[in-house]
């Protein structure tokens, strides 16, 4: 992908005022959907996304159940008002692909054998999108899964890095996604140090790729800190003393 105009100005500021190694502001609100078994609202820059988990629960239809482990269903869906141009409510091919890669980003962390014949449903609803919505969705879903008490080997944290004005930058926003040189979303299990989502859209040479991957992982680790503090705050509030 070749850029048409410069996206970083002379003082090193990007289109939204950030410098190249700065993440957008991230806020996570745990337990926002009262009916769900686990949920989280994430605000990642201008992204506003809700992830809700129902599970383990009965599989419908019953014949889809697996005898030795649970079935994971994942749906990434955007509300019509979430994008610059209104989006039709019907599922698009993009949403179908993203639903799949998100499921495959989260499944490695889940201990599926603990729930034979059951289903874990993960629903990601994008209320407002601004570049990096799949990473924000994965991040929120991981928090929702922990909130639901599902057995997990590790959390999953996600962040994208990319190339803008021939520089490797962390956390691509919407403008940079549409007009920049490359966009690489990554999901990462922070304790086990394993990558569970990796996509690339754009052109990177070998060195650029290595730097981009390292930057994305650095972003994932920063995002992980916010996931952990939001969970600790909801569950342990003022009783943080136990960890000292």
């Amino acid at each position: 992908m070749v850029q048409n105009r410069s996206l970083i100005d002379e003082s090193g500021k990007r289109s939204d005022g950030r410098i190249i190694d700065e993440l957008r502001e991230v806020k996570i609100n745990v337990g926002i959907i009262k009916n769900a078994d686990g949920s989280a609202l994430i605000e990642f820059g201008k992204n506003k996304i809700i992830a809700a988990v129902y599970g383990p629960r009965e599989v419908h239809p019953k014949h889809m159940a697996l005898s030795d482990r649970c079935v994971v269903r994942c749906r990434y869906h955007m509300s019509p008002f979430s994008t610059d141009t209104r989006k039709s409510p019907a599922p698009s091919r993009r949403e179908t692909e993203i639903s799949k890669v998100i499921r495959e980003a989260l499944e490695p962390a889940l201990i599926l054998e603990d729930y034979p014949r059951a289903a874990i449903d993960i629903f990601i609803e994008v209320l407002q999108a601004d570049g990096g919505s799949r990473c924000a969705g994965i991040t929120a879903a991981s928090v929702a899964l922990a909130d639901a008490g599902i057995n997990m080997r590790d959390m999953v944290s996600a962040c994208a890095a990319g190339k803008v004005d021939d520089k490797i930058v962390i956390d691509i926003n919407d403008t940079e996604d549409k007009e920049g040189g490359a966009d690489m979303p990554v999901a990462y299990m922070p304790n086990l140090k394993k990558i569970t989502l990796l996509q690339l859209d754009g052109e990177l040479n070998s060195n650029e790729f290595n730097t981009c991957l390292e930057e994305a992982i650095r972003g994932c680790l920063k995002v992980f800190e916010i996931q952990r503090s939001s969970l600790i705050e909801k569950y342990f509030g003022d009783e943080k003393g136990l960890n000292e």
Partner: protein, 267 residues
């Protein structure tokens, strides 16, 4: 008694290092014991585990549960036990082995919407839980106020050898039936007593992981000063609940042998 170290953990956090035995809600990863859920750790010479603070009810054989009748087939009632699987109560459990849909009317015993307290007689990885109401104190619950709490708080609500729930029952003059699945029925003669009990139950649910909870509950219920023991000495026991959890651990061991309990080792 060995000092018990506790930590707050989220999935992926390290619970302990070394040769400790992984118990529940943890798994072994090399030299580390890692948490699989949000909760409070507990490690001593017997092993390492996490006491979970969230999660739906996952059935276990021998648990006492409170359920509601959804429907019935010709041979059993299907029962919602607030879990990922519906349970089944065989008609034979009530009518006996000679049960026949031709001359025994299931509707005469239990109707859609009825609430029952039952024991999970059978549950394994291959089928839905099977209930029985044949033991003492089991069966249909005709009256009372029904409330739901997170199943992870039930051990705290019961307390060491039933102490917490008995304190609440006595102070509010109510009878409280608790299901391991988080469903509770409170019955009593006067509304005030029932409301007091329900209030106390909700406070235990929200503050289950905090210290001095017993003391605060007793104060709420106006239990006389002489009966409020020095809670500081009881601190370890309170949050520990090892006796309750020991039963859980034993049944977990059996369940693990049957191949159905939580992760307990690397694959």
């Amino acid at each position: 008694m060995q000092e018990v170290k506790r930590k707050y953990v989220i999935p992926g956090d390290i619970v302990a290092e070394g040769n400790l035995k992984p118990l529940v809600n943890v798994y072994r990863h090399g030299n580390l014991i890692v948490a699989t859920r949000i909760g409070i750790t507990e490690s001593n010479k017997d092993g390492a585990k996490v006491i979970p603070l969230s999660g739906i009810y996952f059935p276990r054989a021998n648990d006492i549960v409170i359920g509601k009748i959804l429907d019935h087939s010709s041979l059993s009632w299907s029962v919602d036990i607030n879990s990922c699987f519906n349970a089944h109560l065989p008609a034979q459990d009530i009518f006996g082995r000679d049960f026949s849909p031709a001359h025994d009317d299931m509707g005469s015993q239990l109707l859609k919407g009825d609430v029952i307290v039952a024991r999970i007689a059978i549950f394994d990885r291959t089928r839905d839980p099977i209930l029985t109401i044949q033991d003492k104190d089991l069966g249909k619950i005709p009256t009372g106020e029904l409330i739901k709490i997170s199943p992870t708080r039930v051990p705290r609500l019961i307390g060491k050898r039933g102490s917490m729930i008995q304190t609440i029952e006595q102070a509010s003059s109510t009878r409280i039936t608790i299901g391991q699945n988080g469903i509770i029925v409170v019955s009593g003669k006067d509304k005030e007593g029932i409301n007091l009990a329900i209030n106390a139950i909700h406070i235990v649910e929200v503050e289950a992981h905090t210290s001095n909870l017993t003391q605060r509950i007793k104060q709420l219920l106006n239990v006389p000063e002489s009966e409020i023991e020095n809670d500081d000495t009881k601190r370890n026991h309170e949050i520990n609940d090892t006796e309750i959890n020991d039963d859980k651990v034993i049944s977990n061991k059996i369940d693990k042998e049957m191949g159905m309990m939580n992760s307990n080792g690397t694959k």
